[in-house]
């Protein structure tokens, strides 16, 4: 406010001088900001880089300090050793099956239900949708015992199906898809109906195709969530042949103690590869996934 008065009273020179000074201060601030950002990036990336480069050290060297940040003489033996010490191939396969089936399953169930909640009139719709919304606040951990009992009743304990089946529907996924369909013009569907398209035809040929970005976002969210999931596998799975990657890696760490951390880290790096690859190719859907819920 005071700055405004200075300018308005017409004292041009001091005002300009202040502006120049501010610009210089601002650029110093910008350089300081850049330095802070770089330091923050070093802290963010450091542990990941350490895990990667230590996975390339020989087991004997792995725990010696200083850490080797750049693998000058990489030793890939740890990567072979992971496959010898635990059935990591099996863990990979299990994680892939679980994640893939859930991603595809939720894409189907959530696209269908999200579309219905956005575009179709049926009695009780808002009540049912409200009930869906209410469950979004409920943490998985507070319902784990009943879910476990259902799994047991269905005879699914210690199987990949115990992770897959309860996750095939999702209130959040439904909400996400509904929000996206709500933005689409209703006239398109009405026009297609007049041209003789069936209800299903309108959904499948007109709207579902336009929903590709939302479907990708939901798929990426589910991939990140279920590829990394630890809690349900810990409770539902018992035998090593059904373990998913996070559970298998924690088991490997527990078995080995402190002896060969480079082998464990090789496993950690391997488990991250699919996520990193996907991130490289679909970064914008990861970012969209972060902001997806905030439209609430």
């Amino acid at each position: 406010m005071s700055a405004t008065t200075t300018i308005v009273t017409g004292r041009g020179r001091p005002a300009r001088a202040t502006a120049a000074g501010r610009r210089r201060a601002f650029s110093i601030g910008k350089i300081a900001g850049l330095i802070v950002l770089i330091i923050a990036a070093v802290f963010a990336l450091g542990p990941l880089l350490w895990a990667f480069s230590t996975s390339l050290r020989t087991p004997a060297d792995a725990f010696t300090n200083p850490p080797q940040w750049i693998p000058l003489s990489p030793d890939f033996g740890n990567y072979a050793a992971v496959f010898e010490q635990i059935p990591i191939g099996q863990f990979f396969l299990n994680s892939t099956i679980v994640t893939l089936v859930i991603v595809v399953g939720q894409t189907i169930t959530c696209t269908l239900s999200g579309y219905a909640f956005a575009m179709i009139s049926f009695p009780g719709k808002n009540w049912i949708f409200g009930a869906f919304l209410a469950t979004m606040m409920v943490p998985m951990q507070t319902i784990i015992i009943p879910v476990f009992l259902i799994i047991k009743t269905l005879g699914l304990t210690d199987s990949l199906a115990s992770l897959i089946i309860p996750a095939l529907g999702s209130a959040f996924g439904t909400f996400l898809m509904r929000q996206y369909f709500m933005q689409m013009p209703k006239e398109l569907g009405e026009a297609a109906r007049i041209d003789g398209a069936s209800q299903w035809g309108v959904f499948f040929h007109v709207y579902a195709r336009m929903a590709a970005p939302a479907i990708s976002t939901l798929a990426i969210l589910n991939f990140s969530g279920f590829w990394a999931e630890f809690y349900r596998p810990l409770i539902f799975l018992q035998s090593q042949s059904t373990f998913t990657l996070p559970l298998g890696l924690v088991g490997l760490q527990g078995n080995l103690g402190t002896g060969s951390i480079s082998v464990v880290l090789a496993g950690v790096v391997l488990a991250m590869i699919p996520s990193v690859l996907l991130f490289i190719f679909a970064q914008r859907y990861f970012i969209a996934g972060v902001t997806a819920g905030s439209s609430r």
Binding site: A44, S113, S121, Y231, V268, S294
Partner: protein
């Protein structure tokens, strides 16, 4: 027919959009068309509703029901009334685990939000797309690792004797910090690790919110002579306050369920220093097979989360600025 337009709380966009005119009563086929549409609608939500009902709705009710029983899985459940809840409020270790969870969750939320906002503001000042993309990628990368993987390699880094972190602290002249071997150290370590991994989430949220601040507002404030700090605190932060509230709610809900990192790194120790509410639930339920009591703890945790979230929304009514 007009259901699309009714409660604006659930369907904010629908009311403003030109909705269909009132049902044309005299047209002969109208009722049949409406019935057909309803059938189609139910068919479309059928699958999602089946799974959500069986694996979310019913389990919520079942958890509530179970909390009134004593059940060890082997013998049939016996009615306990409010016994499990009475036991909860006199169970020192479990109450302590709730206290630990609340303290750690608050620390996580405060650090995660302030750090995320600070970094987002710094990145927002940068004009080059390369810079923005680079930092966004750098801060997001930790989220690509699973919490289990992070717990594993952070356990090595924070190791009391051999860890790289104490090695560098020694170089700087500090003595070894008992990161995971002392109660307070373990709590601090887990808070730091969660913040390290999750800060990218709040950062990305805040960057996109800051980018959405209309430029004419910023221009107006700079014409009025507001400096960068003033613009930040008087214009930008109020304008993105709904996003800050959202980030706070999500971060707090997640932090109240903290399980993976303390379970893997410290098994809730040393002693019970990092035994969180969910670890308590896990131990009573799946290790001591007290399903009724564990369900009661679960219900208390759920109510606590709902209450805190409600409080956040109430408190924010005064602060959050909706355009």
């Amino acid at each position: 027919m007009s259901a699309t337009a009714s409660p604006p709380r659930v369907a904010p966009g629908a009311a403003s959009r030109g909705v269909k005119p009132p049902r044309p009563v005299r047209r002969p086929g109208a009722r049949r068309t409406a019935r057909r549409e309803a059938t189609f609608g139910f068919a479309m939500i059928g699958l999602a509703m089946l799974f959500v009902t069986v694996f979310t709705f019913l389990p919520i009710l079942a958890s509530l029901g179970l909390s009134f029983f004593d059940w060890d899985v082997i013998s049939p459940p016996t009615w306990a009334g409010l016994g499990n809840y009475e036991r909860f409020f006199s169970d020192g270790p479990v109450l302590q685990s709730f206290g630990v969870t609340i303290c750690m969750a608050l620390a996580i939320v405060v650090l995660q939000l302030s750090l995320g906002l600070f970094l987002a503001v710094l990145v927002n000042q940068r004009t080059s797309t390369f810079g923005r993309t680079f930092f966004r990628t750098a801060f997001y990368l930790p989220l690509l690792a699973s919490t289990a993987a992070v717990a594993i390699f952070m356990g090595y880094l924070f190791d009391n004797k051999f860890g790289a972190i104490n090695y560098y602290l020694n170089l700087l002249g500090f003595s070894n910090v008992p990161w995971l071997t002392s109660p307070f150290g373990a709590q601090v370590t887990i808070v730091l690790i969660v913040v390290w991994q999750q800060v990218g989430f709040t950062f990305v949220l805040f960057v996109s919110a800051l980018m959405a601040v209309p430029t004419d507002v910023l221009e107006a404030s700079s014409i009025d002579g507001a400096g960068p700090l003033r613009t930040l605190f008087r214009i930008k932060i109020p304008l993105i306050s709904p996003t800050i509230l959202f980030a706070a709610v999500i971060a707090l809900i997640n932090a109240m369920q903290l399980f993976d990192q303390p379970y893997i790194m410290t098994k809730g120790g040393p002693g019970t220093a990092t035994t969180t509410a969910t670890i308590s639930m896990y131990q009573t339920g799946f290790q001591n097979l007290q399903f009724g009591y564990s369900s009661a703890i679960a219900i208390v945790l759920l109510l606590l989360i709902l209450a805190i979230t409600g409080l956040q929304f109430l408190a924010s009514r005064k602060v959050v600025f909706y355009q």
